[in-house]
């Protein structure tokens, strides 16, 4: 019969060997022996069945106490050694975090497309709808419907690309502006009209720093019963601040465009120097941004609107130009360059 003293001796011996354990595997081995079928704890427990009540009580209490103490010791040792083992394993798994990563591939939208979406969103926020139309357009929509006289120089072959389509050699062309979309829109929609028309346009210009036969423009048009020059100013001032950052001052100078009367050119105070004069604004403090004006009554008439009741304003802005100005792109040709050294900078 195993006595409580034997059990306590077993406990002490086991704890002593546990002291020397250096891994959870050793702890497991010690546990298997110390609490296994041949261990004094198990043998004592088995002998309780046949023991007299007095012994049963005495030895039973000792067995439970020793078993509980040992189990607690094993948990504690396993925890202690387990932590150290994890630490050691993780230390061995050290990864050089300065190595270049396995990044998901990331391309970039073209800068002009980014600016395009940005300015469209500004106007959508102001309640405008986006309209679009064909790039190869009829001379009627590109010129006639927009108050352009038949002899106007912009119709010359030196200025406009004509396309071989149909019988009239001057009937179909690459649109020189996005304005034909305005004419198409007004033809099929009653006022009020609040639209912006971003798009690609073409003029017969050779490529240089600021010209390209292909360029991008956005036109805006608002026609309603109570639209004035004041609305034009308020809208474009809002736009300039949204695009270049708040605190921009704008000025409107009289100008001339065939589709508007009065017409104006809008300048915005330089975003780079705040108007004191720098490289971006060529020392003037102002950046010439866009052309605009009150819609010419002839344009309203050709759309079938009554110019004595309806009035409106229109503006046209070069999307490429906005991008060039804000991002200080020195030459327009970079926008048509497939060189990744250019495109990667648009990320």
């Amino acid at each position: 019969m195993i006595r409580p003293d034997d059990l306590h001796a077993h406990e002490a011996a086991t704890l002593a060997s546990l002291e020397g354990a250096s891994s959870t595997a050793e702890v497991d081995a010690i546990e298997r022996v110390a609490l296994g079928p041949d261990s004094p704890v198990t043998i004592a427990r088995k002998s309780l069945r046949d023991a007299n009540p007095e012994d049963r009580r005495e030895v039973g209490m000792a067995v439970n106490a020793v078993a509980a103490a040992l189990q607690a010791a094993f948990v504690e040792s396993r925890h202690r050694l387990g932590m150290a083992e994890i630490d050691a394993r993780l230390a061995a798994e050290r990864f050089d975090m300065s190595l270049p990563g396995r990044a998901p591939a990331l391309g970039a939208a073209h800068l002009v497309a980014q600016v395009w979406d940005e300015i469209v969103d500004i106007f959508v926020g102001l309640g405008y709808t986006v309209a679009s139309g064909p790039e190869v357009e009829t001379a009627y929509y590109n010129f006639d419907a927009l108050n352009t006289p038949p002899t106007h120089p912009s119709r010359l072959e030196s200025d406009t690309f004509y396309v071989e389509h149909g019988d009239d050699p001057e009937g179909v062309l690459l649109r020189t502006q996005t304005s034909p979309v305005q004419a198409r829109w007004m033809e099929s929609h009653d006022p009020p009209v609040y639209i912006v028309v971003p798009g690609r346009c073409y003029r017969r210009d050779a490529v240089d720093a600021t010209h390209s036969p292909v360029f991008h423009q956005m036109e805006g048009l608002a026609v309603d019963t109570d639209i004035t020059f004041a609305d034009l100013k308020g809208t474009l001032e809002y736009f300039a601040n949204a695009f270049f950052g708040s605190g921009r001052r704008v000025r409107f100078l009289p100008h001339f465009f065939p589709f508007t009367e009065p017409s104006a050119e809008m300048h915005v105070s330089c975003f780079a120097c705040d108007g004191s004069g720098c490289r971006v604004c060529k020392g003037t403090g102002w950046i010439e941004l866009l052309g605009c004006g009150v819609v010419d009554p002839n344009v309203l008439v050709s759309a079938g609107y009554d110019p004595t009741i309806m009035s409106g304003f229109a503006f046209g802005v070069g999307i490429d130009r906005l991008a060039m100005v804000r991002h200080e792109i020195p030459e327009l040709r970079y926008f048509f360059d497939p060189d990744l050294r250019v495109l990667e900078q648009f990320q």
Partner: protein, 790 residues
Amino acid sequence: MKVSLRWLREFVDLPTEDPRRLTEVLDGLGIEVEGADELAVPFSGVVVAKVEAIRPHPSADRIRLVTIDDGSGGKEVVCGAWNFEEGATVAYATVGSVLAGGLAVGERKIRGILSPGMIASEVELGIGDESGGILLLDRGEPGEDFAEMVALPDVVFEVSITPNRPDAMSVHGIARELAAYFDVPVRPVTVDGSVGAGTSAVRVRIEDPAGCPRFTAREIAGVSVRPSPLWMRQRLRAVGIRPISNVVDVTNYVMVELGQPLHAFDLDLVPDETIVVRRASAGEALTTLDGVARVLDPADLVIASPDGVLGLAGIMGGGSSEVSETTTRVLVEVANFEPTGVLLSGKRHALRTEAVARFERGVDPELPPIASARATDLITKLAGGTVVGSLVDEYPGLHVPVTVELPEHEVERLLGVAIARETISGYLSRLGFVVAGADPMLVTVPSFRPDVSRPADLVEEVARLHGFDSIPARLPTGGGGRLPSEEVIRRSVRSTMIGAGYFETFTFDFSDIDEIRAFILDPEDPRGNAIRIRNPLSEEEAYLRTTLLPGLLAGIRTNQTRNRSEIALFELGTVFLRSAGELPDQPRQLAFASVGRVAGSSWEKTPNRDASDAIGMIETLFASLRTTYELEQRPCTGFHPGRAAAVMVGGRAVGVVGEVHPSVAEWFGLDGRVEAGELDTAGFSPRRSEFVAPSGFPPVVFDLAFDMDADAAAASLLDVIRRGGGERLERAVLFDVFAGPPLDRGRRSIAVRLTFRDAERTLTDEDLLPVRREITETVERELGGRLRGV
């Protein structure tokens, strides 16, 4: 155009002459100032002096001793020039004066004689390049400040005039605008409309009154053509015009001053002394003053004699009747020409003269007699001569003044600011309009403002004088904005492409036909028959693109030649296809092309791209745009015959995907396999996403591998599995493909993992036995595939 402040002063007394302030005012009037050049006096201490006596230098032959009166008594200076005699008026640099380039003038001993100061030449004064002798003056009193004589200092404004403002193309016109702004009077041009003795033999016949509404001719006899006096030369130089001779200088002077171009002929060189204004006959020749021999177009309006063409009307004179040093009889032409004709002729002959710049805007038809009188006056003063007879004035296109009704409210309706009627009327009057009536006001437009004919035009005039700055700003509420779905799809496609590592690029819409046909190899493919631009910039840019891919392949080449090896580009753009309709078909497309390794980190090897990458790009695009599609493997022009497929949506081909044909890649100079695709973005029609709550029951998963013919499409196997799997088939993922032993030659194994789940209960393997059998049998029957032992 250049305008000098001193010249403006002749017509208006400005309350300020501060160049910055005047720039602001002109800008605000719509006369854009591109620069204000402040001309300083290049010398100091120079006065006018009169030569009183000349004697030889006692010890030198080539220099003389000159006694001058500079207003403060006589002085004797040493002078090396010989181009003057006693009585000449000269510029005297006093002791202590400074000449151009900072040369200080003192008392200097020359060959033993002390010279107090010196007589100066143009070059020494820094006002010209004449250095052959001293500067001789034609006027000036001894002691007078010489700077004033050469009109210095001055401010020269470079202004840009909009095409609608012929009236502002002159000193007088700009003076008129400034006077209106400052509300001060503008002085009229002083002219002497005198009639000369005798009768002029000059006859004028206008054969094309539409092209030439008015023509005046003035004969002046006995002129002596020589260089203009200093003041004239200085004034022209200040505005950037090179002085030529007194007669020619006067024509330029009057043009700048009044905005009316004019031309002087040597009357002795005008056959029959008869001027005919007519259209050129086809093939007629003219050598213009610039020495260029030109063949005229029947649309060109010309000034001719009965013997032939003398000049291009309103553009440039001809060499045959040019005024020269031997000219004694001058005919001064001051005419009015129809703007568009001049503009078109000017463009045709690539001549952008000062005259064109004015006539193309529409010169005041009432101006010719005034300009003619002004020129006559100046010529007789500068070149001598006398007027012969009276002015010949043919005026078939008599100007009828326009009167516009302006309702008072119209100003507020268009500008958004209320302006009192008296103020409106005041603004218009200051600008030369005559206002009568009350509401509506009856406004008569002056002849120099052809751009004004409607109320809106008058509102602009009011706005200019009121100041655009004085109009308030108001933000209208708009009409409810939205992006159309095609714009939303375009943006979605773009972000998917960017997320897949592609860079967006922009290319021109026109290209070389060879480049298009290098890709569209199939002669039956209509895209090889691209639409031509009738007037291209060059043959390389003569055809409208029918596919975006050649542009991208060229882009890859650009990058490969710059030593890049991993390249992925895309473009969203329009292509142009022949159509019987009013306009060509213009679908908006997406194209992408890539070459090199797939993305990874820079230090791990990743595989090279192959057709699978192109297929995967299509899968991602259609998944992100929630559109169902199928690939139909078939040869597609420009692509590898065994590695291409049509992209089908709803039974219609919307695009193509695959590997670019190696020969095409070679034509474009590309290295490596190029994976590409092109789609009509209208093919994307995102369906509404539908939500199904995930089942809480466990799945049954098993794999099936089939030994199949190597040419049987993987998609057909998946199709059979999906059909046979029924509603409980949650996923079927192809996870392994291999060929070779133990399979027979021409066979391959395709393995698919099937996941089944029921929404209502836990499935057992037994539940799926019939499904498994059905699939196996169908694969065997339809595809000749044998289930392999798993």
